[in-house]
Symmetry: C2
Subunit: 221 residues, 2 copies
DNA sequence: TGCCATATTGAACGAACGGTCAATAGCGCG
DNA sequence: CGCGCTATTGACCGTTCGTTCAATATGGCA
């Protein structure tokens, strides 16, 4: 009755792909041994044969998802920005745009996160990934603090990093919930909150409505 | 065999309380008819008798959670703040502090959110709640835009509201994942990013940091 | 008191799930 | 060709779940 034999790594990948498709279509709860086997066109026993346990299959899927998700990368165009805060915000903008581009993957990400609360193995893996991601932001946050110590008095690099990453997470959640999100307007509003203060109008006592034609200073490059 | 009779509203509340406790302890997946019945000290049949279906019980639990969660409220102390942006940020701070104070409830919130992706009834209910919450922010966002049109050029009230609420969501996620979060430092850093520009240090002509020794942030991969 | 609507019970059912296992076919190798 | 290792199959098991239902006790009311 058995069919043709296939090399082990290929089989594992076929199974993970099937599990991934099921998770994208119906969430982590839609992953069952039987459905994975059917989608991968093999018997249910073979799935267990290669992964031993459903939990280990899910863990392998998580690993694969994390490794195939584009990692945070600071390109030369961002690195060229002189001002630290502007550089950080450019990175923040890049990340928000990237995450909002693949809402399905983010959705899966959050499902793993949620699952990690009750499953310690998943939780530990997610925690490691989160630490890694945050660590990538840290150098920039440190540069920002050094550039303007007065403004960020009493704020540590860890704190600023946490806030920055939280902002990104919020955007990711937003994109996950409402894929029709207009990311351009979203970014514009975020920029209004974050970046414009680098070129403040002289304090007139009441820094409210602008009087007269406001001269928009050229962006620092 | 049947035990003492109890009024219907009381029974429903007993059942919802039991379901809530189970969900807090072990997530939405930990809600089973049998366990709910056991925790509420009644038979499993009675749970079905009062709610008809497990799905309807979960929906009733969601409704109860939403209605017993403190709604967004703009207190007099916030309303007294003159500057619109400062007022918005004060509200933002209040919300971040509030949400980080009850991480368990937030966790449950997000689980419902996740479940709502695959269950349209839950999804619709969550969407309504989100709209309601966002609508409460909108007037403040409009005031901010009116106060400084130049700064938020091309940004609609909806966009600014979305960003603000996203920021809160990000903080909520943060608090959910790491309950040991130091909320005070988190708020300080957020304030540094958002509020300080209202009281800018006199422009020294060079808002850049490239004065002293330039710190090269480590390249991230 | 007797009666009836109904709140309550728990055994039972069918479906779905994760996992086991004896049987079997494919493949490399002597 | 024939042997042996192993990938592969699918029936099967035990468990858990949501739900059904006949039986029964309860409390209000005539």
């Amino acid at each position: 009755m058995p069919g043709t034999k296939v090399s082990e790594p290929l089989r594992r990948q076929q199974i993970i792909n099937a599990a991934f498709e099921l998770a994208i279509d119906g969430g982590l709860n839609a992953i069952t041994i039987r459905d994975v086997a059917q989608r991968a066109e093999m018997s249910s026993g073979l799935v267990i044969f290669h992964f031993g346990t459903k939990d280990q299959l899910v863990l392998a899927l998580l690993e694969w998802v994390l490794q195939t998700t584009t990692a945070l990368s600071v390109g030369p165009d961002i690195e060229a920005i002189g001002d630290p805060l502007e550089r950080l915000i450019a990175l923040l903008r890049q990340e928000m745009a990237r995450l909002s581009r693949e809402p399905q993957r983010i959705r899966l990400f959050f499902e793993f996160w949620s699952a990690g609360i009750w499953n310690s193995e998943i939780g530990n893996r997610m925690q490691r990934e989160l630490d890694r991601y945050r660590e990538a932001f840290r150098p920039m946050a440190e540069a920002v603090l050094l550039a303007d110590p007065a403004r960020f008095e009493g704020v540590s690099a860890a704190g600023l990093t946490a806030v920055t990453v939280s902002f990104i997470k919020g955007c990711a959640v937003q994109a996950m919930i409402e894929p029709q999100l207009d990311i351009r307007e979203f970014l514009a509003a975020a920029e209004g909150l974050l970046v414009k203060q680098l070129h403040p109008t002289p304090p007139t006592g009441r820094p409210s409505a602008s009087r007269g034609p406001r001269i928009l200073p050229a962006r620092v490059r």
